[in-house]
Amino acid sequence: MPKERFEDALNKLEKIVSKLEEGDIPLEESLKLFEEGIRLSQFCNQKLDEAEKKVEILLKGKNRMLKPHPFDPSTSSEQTSMGKLEEEEEKV
């Protein structure tokens, strides 16, 4: 199943709201639209809060494979090259 995209969900929600506001929809159908609208707004909210704050840098480990490590840009000026980063990684 293709991943539902945030912007698509938001567009759908917009359409549902204006359709409801236009009126002339039977009650039962209105309720169905409403439920779908609630689901979409729930989904969008979830997407907004879903990701976890994380800043990582990819570094080469002992086996030369890249692995993510926490990255702090304020200390990065000491790490002047990939070589240096690798050395530090070796020590860890």
Binding site: R5, F6, E7, L10, L13, E14, I16, V17, L20, E21, G23, D24, L27, S30, L31, F34, E35, G37, I38, S41, Q42, C44, N45, K47, L48, D49, E50, A51, E52, K53, K54, V55, E56, I57, L58, L59, L66, P68, F71, P73, S74, S76, S77, Q79, T80, S81, M82, L85
Partner: protein, 446 residues
């Protein structure tokens, strides 16, 4: 006979001497002219003739040096060459053995840039149909740039300010110098292997054309083109354009701008969402309340509460309940959001549909009353008419007009003919008010 002294040289000796003279005289020179008759055999060395209006000289740029050239020399190009004069003994030919060639009038990098741009454009790498949309809310952003320096710090700062809970994955690369372009291309390929990166930013800060060169390399251009993940390129300052910018799905004028283009401001998006959700809810609540009001109104009109109307009431109540359940379900996550939404609800006007229904009912009612009044009026007028008729038929009303009734006494027979009485008979005359008792003095026929 004394033969004059003759110093006889071999061809080799002469050639060697010419070679020595030439090579000593022209060990390092700059020559300008036009490239013609250019050939690149499989060996990879570049052979051409350098000429001006009057003369020409053969020239060669060996493969080692040719590899360092960033542009492609072509016939007709005006160039400045650096090299020495060499002599190829086997053929007795002298030629320029070049170290490097520069296009005349335009920098070599500039020309290389233009040549690559033209070639890739023809190939369709810049075609807008290949551009992928940048997602509105990326879950994970890959950044390919130098881990040191202000650029990455600025980007991280902006990203965090706009969207505090982002996952950012930095792929560290050198952004200039030998090997930088292949590191960047590697990075793009690597991040494409991960399944959860939604957008990639590649970039670096400002610098000379030479500094930015990695982003003008074909390898980087092709890596960008083949990336399945949308790429924002952000190289140098606003005025710097690189090949990467043309191929990328989106060009940002600066790295900071790239950070802003990569994510929408979370509060902004959140507000849009709340607003839409508020409208959605408000609409539904208003609609159901409208139905409810309408029904109770109808119930008032029809004094006998029919079973059907009661059923409608139950149904509306059921819908309102379901709405409440749904509403509390949305907001059990955060009371604060619910509060904000409720404020929104209070601030917003009732929706048009409910207004319309109410207006319609009000109008209908007004017309109903009007009709009723009208029909009563008609009835009243009809009744009034009948009363009038009735009145006009009443003998009293005739008397009112001055007529009178005469009856014979004592029989009280109403007299319509003078012949019924004779002189001396007693009669009673009934007037509108009061009676006269009279004696007949004389009778006359009609």
């Amino acid at each position: 006979m004394e033969l004059p002294f003759r110093y006889i040289l071999t061809v080799s000796e002469l050639t060697q001497e010419i070679k020595d003279i030439l090579e000593e005289k022209f060990p390092d020179i700059w020559v300008e002219g036009e490239v013609s008759n250019l050939k690149v055999p499989p060996s990879g060395h570049i052979y051409f003739t350098l000429k001006d209006d009057f003369c020409q000289i053969r020239a060669v740029l060996f493969k080692m040096q040719a590899r360092a050239l960033r542009f492609v020399p072509k016939d007709g190009l005006q160039v400045i060459c650096q090299g020495r004069v060499g002599l190829y003994e086997k053929r007795g030919e002298y030629q320029l053995i070049l170290e490097t060639i520069e296009p005349k009038g335009i920098g070599a990098l500039q020309l290389a840039f233009l040549q690559l741009k033209e070639r890739l454009e023809k190939e369709g790498l810049f075609d807008p149909t290949h551009k992928k949309p940048i997602p509105m809310i990326p879950q994970k952003i890959g950044i390919i740039t130098s881990p040191t320096g202000a650029v990455i710090q600025d980007m991280l700062h902006i990203l965090e300010r706009r969207f505090e809970n982002l996952h950012i994955l930095l792929y560290p690369v050198r952004v200039q110098g030998e090997g930088a372009s292949s590191e960047i291309a590697e990075g793009i390929k690597y991040l494409n292997q991960l399944t959860d990166v939604d957008v990639i930013i590649i970039g670096r800060g400002g610098g000379s054309l030479e500094d930015l060169w990695a982003f003008n390399e074909e390898g980087v251009a092709r890596a960008i083109f083949h990336s399945k993940i949308p790429i924002i390129s952000a190289v140098g300052h606003e005025t710097d354009y690189t090949i990467a910018d043309f191929v990328a799905d989106l060009r940002a004028p600066t790295p900071s701008a790239a950070a802003e283009l990569a994510v929408r401001d979370k509060r902004e998006v959140s507000n849009i969402l709340s607003y839409l959700r508020g409208r959605l809810e408000n609409q539904m609540i208003q609609m159901l309340q409208g139905y409810r009001t309408d029904l109770s109104y109808i119930r008032k009109i029809f004094k006998e509460p029919g079973k059907k109307i009661e059923q409608y009431f139950l149904r509306v109540d059921d819908l309102v309940n379901r709405l409440r359940v749904l509403t509390s379900w949305i907001f059990k996550k955060g009371g604060e959001k619910g509060l904000r939404l409720n404020e929104g609800l209070l601030l917003r006007n009732p929706m048009q549909r409910v207004k319309n229904i109410r207006l319609f009912i009000r109008e209908a009612n007004r017309r109903l009353e009007q009709n009723l009044r009208y029909s009563i009026e008609i009835q009243r007028q009809r009744v009034g008419g009948q009363l009038g008729k009735l009145n006009s038929l009443s003998p009293l009303s005739i008397l009112q007009r001055g007529y009178s009734i005469t009856v014979k006494l004592p029989s009280a027979q109403v007299l319509r003919d003078a012949a019924y009485v004779k002189e001396g008979d007693k009669v009673e005359v009934r007037l509108y008010r009061g009676n006269l008792f009279c004696r007949v003095e004389k009778t006359e026929g009609p």
